[in-house]
Amino acid sequence: MDFVSIKKRLLKFSRSAWTPFAAIPIALGIGAIVLLIAGYNPLQAYAAMWQGAFKDRTAITEVLIKATPLIFIGAGLAVAFRCSIWNIGAEGQFYAGAVAATAVGIYLGDLPRFLLVPLVLIAGASSGALWGMLAAFLKNRFGANEVVTTIMLNYIAIFITGWLVTGPMIETAGLFAQTAKISQNAWLWRFLPPTRLHTGFILAVVVALVLYIIIFKTSLGYTIRAVGINPEAARYAGINVKRKVLLAMAISGGAAGLGGAVEVAAISYRLYQLISPGYGFDGIAVSLLVNNNPLGVIFSGILFGALRSGAEVMQMNAKVPSVLVFLIQGLVVLSVVAFGVYSYVSKEKEE
């Protein structure tokens, strides 16, 4: 086989939907070299990682638990990115959702379960949506770049949370910087005891599915995609571009806020400053990995959940320091992006 036909095959492959996942072995390969240089046995490290993610039922459910916030966030971001709104603020929107959910879960704790659970989720989603719409408003009204505003809004949300959990909302004992536990009536059902797997995961999958349908099957999704690709043509066709920007940010922020509410109501049961270890940023990669398809986000979310979960065990059992774990995660994202750029550039060239 000559070089040209190899290149053609590679090109064809690089355009298929599965390509991004092929970037993972490449990233792990490079990661192995780094591990070797740092003096660790990559086989041992990766074995520990695999074990950590898939060893038994508990391990697998932990992966799904880690994937849950990523699926919420990733699916929401897919909508924003389809509309060409570069929402880097899912982290802040997640926090906004967690704060509102905690407040409802504590202060309305006497409500019966069938009322409180939906209220907690609705509070989280609308709070996240409002936080997202704030950036959209600034963009529409003043032309402020959403990348900048959403990043700034992240800090504001995180620091407000910090203030709340050390001040107004601190637990009654006042020992730790955290709120009291939310009412038991607000807890989501852990349906597979003794594992922690909860109904929030199922909700995440449903949300991803619904957003997929909205984006690809409805006239609303049509307008969002049209605005994302060519706002001028969208305007020409009579679409109100600003309204779509606002809506896309509301959906994106709402999904992230819902993720924050679920995290509180199903896992932590309370709010503390570091409730998100950076889900909002991982969510960007989760969405980009599958070309901003909310349905694909379910799979890439689980993949990133497995990486995260496995990495923890790798750190514990193979004694690989956490920085190297983050490095491998970074390599995965980087190689996915590189693959994407390669196929894009070669497509341009060919034409």
């Binding site: 409805t218 006239s219 009579g238």
Partner: protein, 517 residues
């Protein structure tokens, strides 16, 4: 005219480009066999409409694009620049429409940008600064090599670009519409300066679509149209109307059999429309007209005289002021302008790729760009893919659009077929008033003929049509009345009598109706 070009190696000839072809994805043929011959020490204007292929031709020479076919001879040798660096080394300089300057660097740093050697930590700029100071003094350019580019005015930045080319020893200087960004006074200065340079032996290729500039500055002028060379003439032996005709006219493609006009009622009327362009300067001034049913009103004019702004304002895509706009006996407010679609107007926009179509979308998704929210294409907010597909297939058949599958990305279609999709979509809505802007620009003859026939059929079906085109032949073939637009104003109304083409040319060049009739 092409035959009169010297084929031998005339000692005077510094540059000869022969049969240059260049096409782009999406079936855009920018150059379709262009010939150009430039003589040593002359100012040679490259005249043509937007999209005629002027910039592409010069970009091919400068090594920015690789031509599909054709050959270039520069200083009597075969020349083939692989990249701009190649061109610069061969003493060709180009000043682009958009300046290629790093705003945060000084003038001197910008001028030696390509030659900056990063491994030499201490680049001594002093000799460079001295040389620039000397040059700027010699040419009377008044450029301080140590000031930052971001602190300079647009005119000064342009001088830096020219100085950059001269610093690298350019023998041939290409300027791409240099006066477009300048005030009238700055333009005057620039033209004087270029004349000085030419007198010193520099050869200049000056890209423009402004006739007065051609007359004022050039020795010779080559006219491009639709990616082809129309003629090369001595400036002294021509005049603006003739140039305008060559620039926009086209050989008669066909005889459109057109029914006699049936008088009807007024469908669309505009009183005193004023539009400001992006820079806030008036582009359309007190523009008034009316269009009757079963009538095509043509707006003729050299491009850049406010036609785009007129169309965008009428389509509600640009802010405007007006005394009244009436569509089908309904008085239109500013607010209504954004929903003229629903009130019975259709619009075939000037730039199908930028505005008319969403290129990564499929053919069928583009067909529903304005009706996606209406039954039967959408029910309860859900797109009805089967209905949309059937509808698309019927339109494809009706308008004989060449496409394998309506689910194919529209970007893969040829320019002519893309335009047919736009036309099909707009006409299928049976508009009362149809706004058409440059309907056949850049598409092949077959598609052109088809699109024109559709417009005529629409007129005979009762629609009122406003046709904006810089193609005079198109205006004459389709219109029942012609309004000539110059610098945002109506210069006069003429009938589409072929004998009137001379007068229209004069009106397009800014003459008043009283002086030409």
């Amino acid at each position: 005219m092409e035959d009169s070009m010297p084929k031998n190696n005339d000692p005077q000839t510094i540059l000869r480009m022969e049969e240059i072809h260049k096409s782009f994805p999406g079936g855009v043929f920018a150059n379709r066999g262009v010939n150009l011959e430039v003589r040593q020490g002359e100012i040679h204007c490259l005249l043509g409409e937007n999209g005629a292929g002027k910039t592409v031709l010069m970009s091919v020479l400068y090594g920015l694009y690789k031509p599909d076919a054709g050959s270039i001879y520069y200083k009597n040798e075969k020349f083939d620049a692989r990249n701009p660096k190649d061109a610069i080394q061969n003493r060709i300089g180009m000043v682009h429409q958009h300046f290629m300057l790093v705003e945060t660097l000084s003038v001197a740093e910008n001028i030696i940008l390509g030659q900056y050697k990063p491994w030499k930590v201490l680049n001594n700029l002093d000799p460079v600064i001295k040389k620039i100071q000397q040059m700027s003094k010699d040419y009377g350019l008044n450029v301080d090599p140590t000031s930052l580019v971001q602190d300079l005015s647009v005119g000064e930045q342009q001088r830096v670009e020219i100085l950059k080319a001269l610093y690298h020893g350019a023998d041939l200087l290409i300027l791409d519409e240099p006066t477009a960004v300048l005030t009238p006074q700055e333009s005057e200065h620039l033209l004087d300066f270029l004349r000085q340079l030419a007198d010193k032996g520099l050869t200049i290729v000056f890209i423009t679509h402004k006739l007065e500039e051609v007359m004022q500055i050039s020795d010779r002028v080559t006219i491009l149209r639709d990616g082809k060379t129309i003629a090369t003439v001595n400036t002294k032996e021509t005049n603006p109307p003739e140039l305008a005709k060559m620039m926009v006219g086209r050989d008669v493609l066909m005889d459109l059999s057109k029914k006699e006009k049936q008088p009807g009622k007024i469908i669309f009327s505009v009183k005193n429309l004023n539009v400001k362009d992006e820079r806030g300067l008036p582009a359309v001034k007190n523009f008034s007209f009316e269009v009757y049913e079963r009538e095509v009103v043509g707006i003729a004019g050299v491009s850049g005289n406010g036609q785009s702004e007129l169309a965008l304002a009428l389509a509600g895509l640009m802010n405007s002021e007006f005394d009244s706009i009436i569509l089908n006996e309904i008085s239109i407010t500013k607010r209504d302008l954004t929903r003229l679609n629903q009130l019975g107007m259709a619009h075939i926009p000037e730039d199908r790729q930028k505005m008319g179509l969403i290129l990564p979308f499929s053919v069928s998704e583009n067909f529903i760009a304005e009706t996606f929210n209406d039954r039967p294409f959408s029910k309860y907010g859900f797109l009805q893919f089967k209905t949309i597909k059937n509808y698309s297939q019927s339109l494809v058949k009706k308008f004989s659009i060449r496409v394998g599958d309506v689910d194919e990305e529209i970007a893969h279609l040829s320019g002519g077929n893309q335009q047919k999709v736009v036309v099909a979509r707009e006409l299928d809505r049976r508009p009362k008033f149809l706004l058409v802007n440059q309907p056949t620009r850049g598409i092949d003859i077959g598609a052109t003929e088809f699109v024109r026939q559709q417009i005529i059929a629409e007129r005979d079906g009762g629609a009122a049509i406003l046709l904006i085109s810089t193609d005079l032949e198109e205006i004459f073939a389709l219109s029942d009345r012609i309004l000539v637009m110059f610098e945002g104003q109506v210069m006069g109304e003429v009938s589409p009598n072929p004998d009137m083409i001379e007068q229209v040319g004069l009106l397009m060049a800014g003459k008043t109706i009283e002086s030409v009739l």
